[in-house]
Structure formats: C-alpha cells, structure tokens
Symmetry: C2
Subunit: 307 residues, 2 copies
C-alpha cells in the first residue's frame, strides 16, 4: 500500500508505504494510517482531495468495491468511507486503469488520444483510454484483457474458464512450466534459487535465471510474452490505439524481452494499416504510476467541479 501527496504541479511532497494487511477490517485501518502518515510527511496544511487506485471489480461512479477476495472487501463503499474519515472529495478507480492513466498523463505516451495498457504479472490487468478518457464501459470494469480467450479449450484460468490470456501468460502459467524444467534439470538457476516451489518463482528469479543462461526458462517467458502480444494485436485490430504501454513488475524485470515479443506478435497479428505508427512502449513511472494517475484524476474532477 502506497500513498503520495502531490502539490499543484504534481510533484510528490510526501509519501508513506506499508505492507497491506488483509484481515477483515485491518485493510481500512492500514489504509487510514498510510494516508495520514503521507500527509504528515508532506507537512501540508490542507489536502484538497484523495484519488485512489484499488483492485476491482469496482464501481468507479460510486467508489464501491464490488469484490476483492484478497482484501476481504465485498460491496465496500471505499470512496464514502474515506470521504467521511478525511472530509475531502474522494475518487476511486481500478488500479490498472489508474496506472495506465498515470503513464498517459505523465509518462511516455502523453498527447495520445487512444491508448491501451497491459500489465502482466500475477494477473494481467488492462486499461483503455479512448478519445482522451478512461473507458469504464457499461459494467464499470472494462479492460479485462487477462480474460480474453486466446486459446480455445486451453488450460484452466483462475477465473474458472479455459484458455484465457492469464491461463497461458501470467505468473502461475509461467511458474508451473519453469518448475517442471527445474525438476528435470533443465533450469539449474531456477532450481538453485527457487527449488521446485511454484510459489517462489517470481519475476526477479526468472530475470536472473535468464541472464545466467537458463535458455529454456527464457523460451517459456518469451512464449508467455508473445501470447500477451497476440492480445495486444487483437486490441489494436479492434480499437486502433495510437500507443500501447506495457507495465508492471514483470515488464520492469524483463523490459526488452516483453517489448521484443510484444512487437513481434503485433507485427504478425495486427493488420498493417492498423499497426502502422503505433508506439509500443514500456511504462516509465514504475510504482508511482498509480499514485500519479490517481492524483491527476481527483485534480481533474475538482477542476471540473464534478465532486
């Protein structure tokens, strides 16, 4: 959990970061603490509003979290709760949306009207900016790129259906293959660092093993990144963005690999007329993307007098 305080030029003037607590009720308390300490750190007299990126699904209009099993929130009125606590307007949006928004407002894809963001990791989050606005769609939860089907009758996904992008390209899909390689003696660096424990295979260990020469590990990750690229290509064909931003911890750990495979897949699977001139770029704000995007969102709402 991270909170940052921004001045009117969007410069960070205070921050706080703490491990998320997930016992029922503890999440909110921890959230209050992190926000309060960031404000204290900034030594400001007045906070004008709070913007927040949260796991979803959630309703961005009301700021109600529909269901986040990891945080034990179900129909939880997050925006209203924070508004009551801190006595300022609050806007809540999906964390990946907000991250895409931050990269768009402050990162490598400024001034593009149509942008999509892919954030592969434990899941594969997505965000869309269409005609200069975050797209929420009818449900409020547009951007579930991780659950687009890329392999009909493919392996099971955590969502219960088969063949989702996440089922072939997210952390567990990669880790299960890499662990099998380690068990067979084909991934010596993974075996040394993670044993054969799927839970220990994370982006850092993979990047290290690839640098150290585990070529079959590299092949597994490249294939997953290529699958992600197929989904990127499908979205280019469907909505014709001007830029695609690839972000999150996995892309940060292996930016060249993800960019190369993403570009390779787009070159094959996107129509020439639609992929022409499309920028595919790595995110550049890292952990700050969500905070910066959320700060800009609340600033915009305040400026428009919407809340």
């Amino acid at each position: 959990m991270m909170a940052a305080v921004f001045d009117s030029a969007f410069k960070i003037v205070g921050r706080c970061r703490k491990k998320t607590q997930t016992e029922a009720g503890a999440t909110e308390q921890r959230l209050y603490t992190v926000i309060s300490e960031a404000i204290a750190d900034a030594k400001v007299d007045k906070v004008l509003g709070i913007g927040l990126g949260s796991p979803g699904p959630l309703d961005p209009n009301t700021g109600v979290i529909i269901d986040t099993p990891n945080l034990k929130w179900k129909n939880f009125p997050l925006a209203a709760t924070l508004q009551k606590k801190f006595k300022v307007p609050v806007v809540v949006d999906n964390d990946v949306n907000v991250g895409t928004y931050g990269e768009w407002r402050f990162g490598a894809i400024k001034n593009c009207q149509n942008v999509i963001g892919f954030f592969p990791g434990t899941g594969i989050g997505g965000g869309l900016i269409i005609n200069g606005k975050l797209l929420h769609g009818f449900s409020g939860a547009a951007g579930e790129f991780g659950h687009m089907t890329v392999q009909l009758d493919g392996p099971f996904c955590g969502c219960g259906k088969r063949g989702c992008l996440e089922a072939v390209a997210s952390r567990i899909a990669i880790a299960e293959q890499v662990i099998a390689l380690a068990a067979r003696g084909d991934a010596p660096n993974i075996l040394r660092d993670c044993g054969t424990d799927l839970a220990k295979v994370r982006s850092g260990a993979l990047a290290k093993a690839i640098r150290a020469g585990d070529t079959m590990v590299e092949d597994v990750v490249r294939k997953a990144a290529y699958y992600m690229g197929v989904a990127v290509a499908n979205m280019i064909n469907a909505v014709s963005p001007e830029a695609v931003v690839l972000g999150g911890g996995w892309v940060e750990a292996m930016p060249e690999l993800y960019l190369e495979e993403g570009q390779r897949a787009v070159k094959y699977h996107a129509m020439p007329f639609l992929r022409k001139g499309v920028k595919i770029v790595p995110a550049k704000l890292g952990d700050n993307a969500v905070a910066m995007g959320a700060a800009h969102l609340i600033a915009e709402r305040l400026a428009e007098g919407l809340i």
Copy 2:
C-alpha cells in the same frame, strides 16, 4: 449499391438500387446515377447533404478511400468527388460502422452508450460505439474484429495471416467444410443446390439445407457462429459494452442459430460481472441500416455546423 433520400424525420422519401459496377471509373459513374435517381425519385427541391457507407479501409476525416480492391479505388477522394458533383456537404464512413450506427440510432439498441456490432458474411465486419460516438481510433479503421486472432496457428485468412476470426468463421471457411461434406455424401441438400462448388455456398443455401435436415451442415455453421461468439466475448471483456448487435445477410438468414451460439459463447467466455445485463440482439433494419446510419451521420454534422 443503394441510395435513399430521407426527410427531416428520417423517413425514406425516395430510393434507388443498382448492381455495383467494378470496372475502373465505372463505380463512380454508377454511384452518381444511383444518387441522382434516388433524388429524382424523392421529388425534392433540395438535398442538404450526403452520407455514405463504403467498404474500407478509408479515412473518415477526409473521406478518402485508402484501398478497396473490389471497387478499384486506391487513395480515392470519394467525399470531395461527390461534394463537387452534387454541391452539398458529404460525409463518408466505413459501411459496417455506419450500419452499426444506424442500428444504434434507429434499431434495437437505442439509448445505449457503448455498443459493438458484428456483421459476419464474406468477411466479418465490426463497429464500435463508445460513449455515444462511433470509434475510429488512431488509424481511422477501428473495428477489424474479423482479423482478431482466435486460433493461434489456425488456418490461413484472406489477409495472409493465420488464425483470424475470418479464417474460421466467415463464408469461405464455412463453405470449404460444407463442400467437403457434400462430396462425402454427408450434406445431400447442399449437394443438390450447390454441387461441390464452394462459390455457390451462400447463406441462403445453408439456411435451406439446415431446415431440410443437413445436420452436419448445421454443426459447421454453429461452430463458426460460436467462434464469432468467442470474439464477441473477448470484446465484452475488453470494452464492456451494454449491447451487442449481430447483423448482415448471414445473421438475417439464420438469426436463431447466430443468437444461440453467440449467447452460448458469451456465457462461457465473458466474465460474469462484464456480461451481466448485456443485450445481444439481431439487427432489425436489414438493408436500410447503412442508409439510415449515413443519413443520421450527415444530419448530425450539419446540425453541429462541422461541415
């Protein structure tokens, strides 16, 4: 080629329809004739503007057709040419976009802010309405749903790549399987009506064979319709529309089959939270959808004073 003249209440007061001519230069002449005869048919004194749906890719901002091999148009300034000829403002957009727009403005999906249209046939066209506006995207050609990859390393598509939706779900993909069934004696009604000639297998012959009891033909078409449904589900996950309209000659010939398979695929492949409450409906304007959509587009532009 069809032209219709609308009064200010969008009632059709005149029309003309002729077979498209495809020799170089003849297309334009035929277009002038069809428009002129529709105006004569309407007996109106004054035409305020012309809206037009054309095969693409095209640039909807300039009205230039980039490349339509069937009509022998390459970088052809269609809007400017018609404007000069008829001395009124002209707006040109992709035919499937305009058809989706017509169904949205006048058909079964009025008042929805986010809509996608799928029009399977010889190709599989698509259109998106996002936040109440047709989406063109960066290239101007958003909505190429037919070239989204649904089967990695699948059969070849007319576009030259493998595994596109069109490669498994459009007319030729269906016809090649049905002809093989006919040759083996497994599709007696197709054999009687089409022989084993792929070019003769069209939606009408398929619908008739299915009604007459060619069960393996039905299975082939259902599988193609299901593939289309997977792409619909992917778009629901990605952009979260409120409604999906299925149209074109194939859906008109077999509406129940396409709706059933579309809904079945969406139920499995779209996330419950995103598919909840989404209307999946057949187009209801038939051939008039493009004309009505185009008429509304030019009326809007005139009202906004944009041209």
